[in-house]
Amino acid sequence: MRIVARRLGLYLLTAWVAVTANFILPRLMPGNPVQTLIGKITSQVTPAEIRAIRLSFGMGFKQGVIAQYFTYLGQLFHGNLGISITLGAPVSSILRESVPWTIGLIGISTIISFTLGTLAGAMLGWTRGSRFDSLIPTATFFQAVPYFFLGTVMLLVFGSNLHWFPVLGAYSQSATPGWNWTFIASVLRYGELPVISIVLSSVAGWMLGMRNMMITMIGEDFVLMAVAKGLPRRKVIAHAARNAVLPSIANLSLAIGLVVSGALLVELVFNYPGVGDLLLQAVLNEDYPLIQGIFLVITLTVLAANLIADVVYLVLDPRTRSEAAV
């Protein structure tokens, strides 16, 4: 358990760095950003809004910077992320509506992609040198395609030309949101194309990593031993694969960040009502409190996912447990 505690400490520190970056960055901005921003808003600006904008840039405080920092931390603990400049609503309530969509979309795609990629990688590693190796350059190409570009192409080909999938949005206009069957079916139907896009872009990474580990594993003595004692091929592959998958899981923390970064933009392509789409709107309108809130929520979610991956790793690899006991 010491390892989990250490990782937890690391993630708490990381969260603190992210929170602090959010505090420092607006205060480093040169010039008078408040005036620029107010000038950009075409509608009537109320004094309350001006105050919200000034506060988000660290202006108009009567306290010193250190005291401001602690006030800011205190507000964060109460879930207060400030007020969105363009939408006028609290950032936390805006996020509450879009975060579940993103977690659902990216979570499901990542699980599918990890499972598929690992299985395919294990097979590719086992049959290395066979004609399946010709899959590798293709997989590499898909790995290099930006997520949002692949999403765009899928949208064009399968959505607007072939009409195989519904495009744009997360559910049909005719369905009423809630726990009813029509709505859930519609969400699943609308989610297909975004999920396929994310899986296609991310599966190659898992596959290639697993293949390389599998090839390295096959050279180990325990695999040779398993063959020598005449275990059926299926069991030998399972033996090797169980050991080869460990680095993939250990690397999940890096990969989750990359997948999330890519997948956010897929939402944008499909007009999916998640955090990615919100982020684009926030960036276009220079809605800084909203940008910061989104960054914070993404970071915290990724950290939580990392922690889960660490615990899974601990359960799967007894060696880490015994090291912790020493």
């Binding site: 690391l10 993630y11 520190l13 990381t14 760095v17 992210a18 970056a21 959010n22 960055l25 607006p26 901005m29 290395r128 040198g129 066979s130 004609r131 590798i136 350059p137 590499t140 190409f141 790995q143 290099a144 395609v145 930006p146 949002f148 570009f149 765009t152 192409v153 949208l155 064009l156 607007s160 030309n161 495009v167 390389n212 390295t216 096959i218 050279g219 695999v223 040779l224 063959v227 030998v236 923390s253 890096l254 989750i256 960040g257 990359l258 999330v260 970064s261 890519g262 956010l264 933009l265 392509v269 982020l279 960036v283 220079e286 800084y288 989104i294 960054f295 993404i298 950290l303 990392n306």
Partner: protein, 318 residues
């Protein structure tokens, strides 16, 4: 230097070819462009023709010229970011691995924090606070991208340095009395060359993705041409839904090709570092020519020798 030659597998040759092509394009692209990419002198939304190889945008700009001119900014940012990030990860990774103790703990913690923060969202936050004139500066953007991209390389290099630090040649250098900096950068670093190269390719790949992403959501200046801004304008004008594939497919394919080239060369480096991966790079015909067993077998790593006099049939590993 024979030992440093990359395995001559078709993957590596293909990768080097692709990269070479795009590097040449980076240099000569803006000169080759038939028109000024920003000029709105042409009819809007022309389909590809002999005059406009990739048609025109909704503002009447020549898309082919944008593609050629945009290659330079895209590649320059990727290279600047990749080089700076690799330098950072080299300095931090080797120092952490060689010095050990408290400096190691601190630097490892730092790189773990940077690994855990999702890079692109952090980039978006930093970039959205940049003044507009810095956003069009390739070097500023490249530096910021490198800040979010060095941590992985540092982790790998640290691990490799730790495996080298007690080797005899390092010990010898220490006894002669060489300075710590010299040992780290003149004795250890050259031995990490393959890892460094692989880390450079990886960060360049990451940087292209990050830069194009920033440009795509409109966070770099939309007036300078790169492949990301092309996609930004195509998306902003609904090109994907109006079937104007010639507008957004070419930049996307170019990005993917550069990435594929980098990854393919990286395969070569991987095979160089881990010889067990090497035989996998051969096709069936090449294996026959080399007189190898039909296929690499379990627990058996074929040893590749150019001279066919000794029939290399595969030698048991270890």
């Amino acid at each position: 230097m024979r030992g440093l030659a990359l395995p001559r597998s078709p993957k590596v040759i293909l990768g080097l070819g692709i990269l070479g092509f795009f590097i040449v394009l980076t240099v000569v692209g803006p000169w080759l462009a038939p028109y000024n990419p920003s000029s709105t002198a042409f009819t809007a939304l022309l389909t590809p023709s002999a005059h406009h190889w990739l048609g025109t945008t909704s503002l009447g700009q020549d898309i082919f010229s944008q593609l050629l001119v945009g290659a330079r900014a895209t590649m320059v940012v990727a290279l600047v970011a990749g080089l700076v990030a690799t330098l950072l990860s080299m300095t931090i990774g080797i120092s952490a691995g060689y010095l050990g103790g408290v400096p190691d703990d601190g630097l490892t913690l730092l790189s773990n924090v940077f690994l855990a923060i999702p890079g692109v969202p952090l980039l978006i936050v930093i970039d959205s606070y940049l003044p507009v004139n810095s956003r069009s500066n390739e070097f500023v953007i490249g530096l910021i991208i490198s800040l979010t991209g060095w941590a992985w390389g540092a982790r790998v290099l640290r691990a490799q340095t730790m495996s080298l630090r007690n080797r005899d040649f390092v010990e010898a250098a220490r006894i002669i009395g060489e300075s710590r900096r010299r040992i780290m950068f003149s004795e250890i670093a050259p031995n990490l060359l393959p890892v460094l190269a692989s880390s450079l390719l990886f960060t360049v790949l990451y940087s292209i993705g990050a830069y194009v992403t920033l440009a795509y959501i409109g966070l770099t200046s939309t007036a300078t041409w790169n492949w990301g801004t092309m996609l930004y304008w195509a998306q902003a004008n609904n090109a994907p839904l109006s079937n104007e594939w010639y507008w957004f497919v070419p930049p996307g394919i170019c990005i993917a090709l550069v990435g594929t080239g980098l990854a393919l060369v990286n395969f070569g480096i991987d095979e160089f570092i881990n010889p067990r991966l090497r035989a996998a790079g051969l096709t069936a015909r090449q294996r026959r020519q080399l007189g190898l067993a039909r296929r690499a077998r379990l627990g058996v790593t074929p040893v590749l020798r150019p001279a066919p006099s000794r029939r290399a049939t595969g030698v048991v590993a270890k």
